[in-house]
């Protein structure tokens, strides 16, 4: 039986053990359209957690966690057909290595996914990527010629619209060249489960929930509060100001000194 992932309503990582064998407090449930941030220093257990999801842990990893789809353990056929395709990854180290035109490549990707109108799908990806990227680019550009920001924007738009995987794992989105907020909106709209491993406070606060790691296990889970949402607004404004000043300085204009936001 092929598990139909368009019907995935929840993904659960059951409570396991940390490095000293202490039981985690509770299961972690992920739902489509939700963003979760994983926080904690290097070595605190974020990677083990992510690899438990990716390998569809079955009590067979050092943490003893299990992965449930829609609340039940996948049977061996499902495990077999899903393994290796559950998680799409977006990372800062990734580049386009192919020497192909952007339009042709996105079309090829859409085609490989069996999308009914691959040309239309490719156009949508281009459109969204251009909304995310600071500087516009065209289907005739070669992948290798894109700037860092344009590449990242294209990867995000493509993953949101064309990737089959129900879970998207992001390790940071850099500040330069991509509209982070729009990027997250686009990913959320795609009805995927979004997991961000980050040290960036803006990304962390953009998440609906934060999981904090320590000694190889989940130590706490925090739902974003109303006050934190306000804080996020403030930080975003600061980032905006930062990038306006950067832009002004870059184009030789004196930066405007706006009054500080009242309140």
């Amino acid at each position: 039986m092929q598990h139909d992932l368009t019907l995935l309503t929840s993904l659960t990582v059951t409570a396991g053990r940390d490095k000293s064998g202490t039981e985690e407090a509770e299961d972690v449930v992920f739902r489509p359209g939700e963003i979760s941030a994983l926080l904690g220093p290097t070595g605190s257990g974020k990677s083990r957690f992510l690899s438990d999801i990716e390998s569809m842990a079955n009590g067979d990893t050092p943490t003893g966690r299990k992965l449930l789809l829609n609340g039940v353990e996948p049977d061996s056929d499902e495990r077999f057909s899903l393994q290796g395709t559950l998680v799409a990854q977006l990372s800062q180290n990734m580049n386009f290595v192919l020497d192909m035109r952007v339009g042709d490549f996105i079309f090829t990707h859409a085609e490989s996914r069996g999308v009914s109108d691959a040309r239309e799908a490719a156009l949508r990806v281009m459109e969204e990527a251009n909304r995310l990227a600071g500087e516009p680019f065209h289907p005739e550009n070669h992948l290798a010629q894109l700037s860092g920001g344009q590449s990242r924007a294209l990867m995000i738009a493509d993953t949101a619209l064309l990737s089959w995987s129900p879970v998207i794992l992001i390790d940071e989105i850099e500040n330069a060249g991509v509209d982070k907020r729009r990027a997250l909106e686009l990913l959320v709209k795609s009805d995927k489960i979004i997991v961000i491993a980050t040290h960036d406070p803006v990304l962390a606060l953009s998440a609906d929930r934060r999981l904090v790691f320590q000694n190889g296990g989940v130590k706490g889970s925090f739902q974003r509060t109303g006050r934190e949402e306000e804080l996020l607004g403030e930080l975003l404004e600061m980032e905006l100001k930062f990038s306006r000043v950067r832009e002004a300085l870059r184009s030789g204009v004196a930066p405007v000194l706006e009054p500080v936001h009242p309140g």
Binding site: S51, F80, T85, Q89, M94, F96, H109, S112, L154, W164
Partner: protein
């Protein structure tokens, strides 16, 4: 003993992946040994030894390492027979030979950087594999990984395909679980290659270096180039 062939183009990540996978196998109580077949030189023994995996590197010199593998498999088997799991690493140089054997687990390793046509070009080493491990996904976009996987699937309908990171070992636990289930055999005598290796018994196989039809003996095949090019200027 479980005997597993791991084949793939040079530098695609075979050794990195085998070391990480063997670490899981050994932690699970299975003893491992590795034989590396290569042509001219190999540093792989240093890496395996550092990971406490018994290793024997043998060099084929002027011969194709896959032919050399077939010629020496019984001996390699005897060398490793104290282990529960023997992995054969070969760098398939010509993309035409394939070391895979009927009745044994066959693994093909390719990396994401080889270009979108690579799965087509690689031939029986990939087409006849039971398990295809794709490395270096950390360096390319999700889109490229997905298109690449699709191309691999077109060339091999039944193999298990896995993304593996040779540097971090991501995905190797899963490979280890699959390899632990590899068939065990008492002997390799009378086993059969899945695909015949190319016949290459011509004078150049025997170290001829001079160019010219008069030096060419044995299994010689002449190509057809079409109509002779005219001087059009």
């Amino acid at each position: 003993m479980r005997l597993i062939t791991v084949a793939g183009p040079p530098s695609c990540g075979k050794t990195s992946l085998i070391i990480k996978t063997c670490t899981h196998l050994m932690a699970g109580g299975l003893s491992c040994a590795v034989v590396k077949f290569d042509c001219l030189q190999s540093q792989d023994d240093v890496a395996y030894t550092a990971a406490n995996i018994p290793v024997s590197v043998v060099l084929s010199g002027g011969l194709c390492p896959d032919h050399y593998f077939a010629t020496n498999l019984e001996e390699a088997f005897a060398w490793a027979s104290g282990a529960q799991c023997c992995i054969i690493e070969t760098a398939g140089l010509c993309n035409r030979c394939s070391p895979h054997i009927k009745g044994l687990m066959a693994v093909c390793v390719i990396d994401n950087l080889m270009g979108i046509e690579a799965p087509k070009k690689i031939g029986p080493m990939l087409q006849m594999a039971d398990l295809i491990a794709v490395t270096k996904g950390d360096l390319v976009s999700q889109a490229e990984r997905e298109v690449y996987r699709h191309r691999i699937r077109q060339m091999n309908r039944r193999a298990v395909i896995r993304q593996v990171n040779g540097l971090t070992g991501q995905g190797c636990r899963d490979l280890a679980a699959i390899m632990a289930e590899a068939p065990s055999v008492e002997s390799v005598t009378d086993m059969k290659l899945r695909f015949s290796m190319p016949a290459a018994i011509c004078s150049y196989c025997l170290s001829e270096r001079r160019i010219g039809a008069k030096y060419q003996k044995g299994n010689v095949k002449k190509a057809s180039f079409g109509k002779t090019v005219c001087n059009t200027i």
